[in-house]
């Protein structure tokens, strides 16, 4: 499993590059080459690195390590068929690392990014709806059980489509340049990552690449089922391109609109899950 981490990081970074390229082409720009994010990460790895005088040490550094650690753990959970509840926990803990990144630097821009990060905790609610819905349908929260269920009953994407939409929105809320990416809005510079540069930024790029890889893989496993690795990558790529289309066509929402929209989506899903539970 450890040996798969490096390829996953590489593919995650490549996905980020493809994401930027697709958005650029839709918007009529040439866009960066698709390997740009890999080059970025390498560049940041060798740039001069220092720590702001205002930072809370060692938390400023520790939070980067935590970010990498939790997504490495999430990678293990998804590919070992572990508990979906644990994946949910990782997703929530990621919120703490986002928040910690912004708080630890002492920068007002970082702090505003951190505040927006907690406000956008509403993006976790559709994930909870996903988990509840999957539990109602399959009777299990173990990813291995859910893939087995799909081998017998067919993909959940077809007979639990609204739940798939919920997870799709969760992944969309974590994509760069998306309608819900309020923590990285340009009016607050780079948001919670403003003061993390050099090797710290490279570490964050690695963590976020793993995050993208894990979330896309989780979607494919949960709603399409277990596939050979090349089909899995293809399905993840198609999913990513569809997300890029949404990001390219949708303006960034204001923080309150982002929260309101995610809450409404969750409400609709809650009604669907209740109906699903009552109908048996």
């Amino acid at each position: 499993m450890i040996t798969l981490i490096l390829p996953a990081v590489f593919i995650g970074l490549l996905f980020h590059g493809i994401h930027r390229k697709v958005i650029a082409r839709i918007q009529g720009r040439p866009g960066p080459p698709i390997w740009q994010e890999i080059l970025h990460t390498l560049k940041f790895s060798f740039k001069q690195t220092w720590i702001p005088k205002t930072a809370s040490m060692p938390m400023y550094v520790f939070i980067v390590a935590v970010s990498i650690a939790i997504w490495t753990g999430a990678f293990y959970i998804v590919f070992s068929g572990g508990s979906l509840l644990l994946l949910f926990a990782v997703f929530m803990l990621h919120k703490i690392t986002e928040h910690g990144l912004g708080l630890s630097s002492g920068s007002p821009y970082g702090k505003f990014g951190a505040i927006r990060s907690v406000m956008s905790a509403a993006s976790e609610i559709p994930l909870f709806a996903t988990i509840a819905g999957i539990y109602v349908v399959t009777g299990s929260l173990m990813i291995s059980d859910i893939t087995k269920y799909q081998e017998i009953h067919g993909p959940l994407l077809i007979h639990a489509f609204p739940i798939a939409i919920a997870l799709y929105i969760v992944i969309l809320s974590k994509m760069h340049y998306g309608p819900f990416s309020i923590i990285e809005a340009k009016e607050i510079v780079s948001g919670n990552r403003t003061e993390h540069f050099g090797v710290w930024r490279a570490g964050l790029e690695v963590a976020y690449a793993l995050k993208t890889f894990v979330l896309l893989a989780a979607f494919v496993l949960l709603f399409i089922g277990a596939l050979p690795w090349y089909l899995m990558l293809l399905a993840m790529l198609i999913l990513l391109v569809s997300l890029s289309f949404v990001c390219a066509f949708t303006p960034m929402l204001s923080p309150f609109d982002a929260v309101a929209m995610q809450t409404v989506i969750t409400g609709i899903l809650a009604v669907y899950i209740i109906i699903l539970g009552v109908m048996g």
């Binding site: 205002t54 644990l86 708080l103």
Partner: protein, 218 residues
Amino acid sequence: MFNLPIEGEELFVLEFGDIVNYFSLYTTTLFLFATAFIIIAIIARPERQTDIIFGTDAVYTKEVSPDNLRFQRFMAIACGLATLGAVCSGDLFNFCLFTALIGITNIGIVAGVNNRYVLNAAYNYGIVAMVATTFLFGGAATALGSCGTLSIWELAGLGMVPLAAKMFLVLGVMGEGMAPFYIAKAEITRAPGAPYVLMIHVSSLLIFLRVIEIILTV
């Protein structure tokens, strides 16, 4: 754990007489995360928050006085320890007790900032936390009244705990873990945050994650 396909396998059981705490893969992850942040609260120095002097181009950094630092650090560590108790507790009463303690220490962390707006916010949070305590222990009492026990070991997989009790527990946790309230108000921009304020969010999220596991299990 409990032969339920919810939270992964059982790793360790810690008995204190009839109080039996448990560590599944899920709760151990939460426990380790809380432990890491307690260590950080002990060893980290606070951020020196940069702020802009209103109406000018000037910026200044806020310093945390040694007295405030000691108090906030103590409260953050206490909050972390209460979180450890809440995430590994094997019965609903202890879970509620530790969650209430998290609410109290969270108020302490906020109240440790010498600023009248922040203190006012701490007072408001105190009211929210007190109201939430009613729901929290009301949920536990309802579960006890209908099932005759509060042990998660006994209740796991039976589905005997009424939906109302589960809803009360969730409402109680939402009130005690008051991160959303703290963020919804502007005081966080006035109070230097890391690492002590972050402990509020760590504890809030961890007890929220724990209560989800509990309501799915019982």
